[in-house]
Symmetry: C2
Subunit: 265 residues, 2 copies
Amino acid sequence: MTQAPSADRLDSPAAARAAYRAGLVSPTSGHAPGSTQANLVVLPRDWAWDMLLFAQRNPQPVPLLDVTEPGSPRTPLAPEADLRTDLPLYRVWRDGELVEEVPDVMDLWREDLVAFLVGCSFSFERALLDAGVPVRNIEQGRNVAMYRTDRPCRPAGRLSGELVVSMRPVPAALVPTAVQVTARMPAVHGAPVHVGAPEALGISDLDAPDFGEPIDARPGDVPVFWACGVTPQAALMASRPPFAITHAPGHMFVTDVPDGTYRLP
Amino acid sequence: MTQAPSADRLDSPAAARAAYRAGLVSPTSGHAPGSTQANLVVLPRDWAWDMLLFAQRNPQPVPLLDVTEPGSPRTPLAPEADLRTDLPLYRVWRDGELVEEVPDVMDLWREDLVAFLVGCSFSFERALLDAGVPVRNIEQGRNVAMYRTDRPCRPAGRLSGELVVSMRPVPAALVPTAVQVTARMPAVHGAPVHVGAPEALGISDLDAPDFGEPIDARPGDVPVFWACGVTPQAALMASRPPFAITHAPGHMFVTDVPDGTYRLP
């Protein structure tokens, strides 16, 4: 394995992807700042209709940025990239069970696989900071806190599952700003789905997230919940397609698309 | 055929649909004001993947509001409606050729048909008026002018075709307002794709639209072009699926969804 490049080589999307391709395994937060990062879900052609329809029916948790041709590892979001090698870490799923994490999926690729690239909240965190809204998980150097809810997604064919949300504590006076800023970014989850009252979403303990890490609220903060790109992974676990590949949490696909592209005026 | 109800009975979505179901054949402009109207495309299950992917790849001309289960004429956009009877006029296509226009499709319906409901510019015309932007086609009592362009859509499987645009003349000083207002309605075509210079889109004569009616510009007006929901009909003509049903131009599906639902803040 090639020696991993140092972090100062990761300031462009192409450099970041080259580093992952050469063997660097690292969460992608902060890499290639200003470039959109995406969640990855790969399914056999036979399940692709269900996934595409699931996304159409649940655009807040599953905002699609691109869908590839069957068998092709190429996307216009980054024309030089290879989706089989250019993410730092992948998860492999069989019958809804996570079976391994691997640094590339060259040996697992098949001609019937379709890749779905899904918008990621990293894009709107930057917009929140630009608008003066503190982002506690960034301040605390942690992955965001994510929770399963009791709110079902609208099913599509064989795919169903509950909505997963990310939570960020926001100072009460800045909640309206946070709503307005993210509402203008529907391609990366859009406006929050819920403000305050986690119990109304079936979340009993904010200190025990189902994914990611707990985030400390500061006095006067209110928990704000956004639809989360982990929702399709939860649907895979619930619906058990025979084979799937996803990114490992936090180890996203770095695209060439500037973040501003997904901000509406 | 039942006697057609008078226009003053068409002020709610349910009343309008009941009138069409009872035999009224009429363009739907102005009916059930404030309710979202939608374009309809129906294809066999075998072609549905191509259409769903075509929409995902071309969201400005094909903004999907809903996709039905195979064989079902029901949509949550109007839970009491029947998509086989509740539009005033349908077009039937075989091998890409228009073969007939009919007031219902009960006898043509099949268990493998999937319906796509696509956002319509009627929704943003109301928002333009609310923002003080005159809408010349409404002033002139005409259908909007629509043109084929030389700009290809991004293909999806067997579906391809050129972008179709609608054109509205806008006073030069109000062009920025028109852009901002419609940019906040991505579910109903969003921001214009082009302002001025029709020749750059391959349009040689604004007085000879390919669909709809020519619209008279007033002095100081600039032609503004939006992606148009007729684009999928043009793709059907170019790509020749064996069977398809669409609405007849201007004879839309009236949903129960308030227009404001599709306006972002």
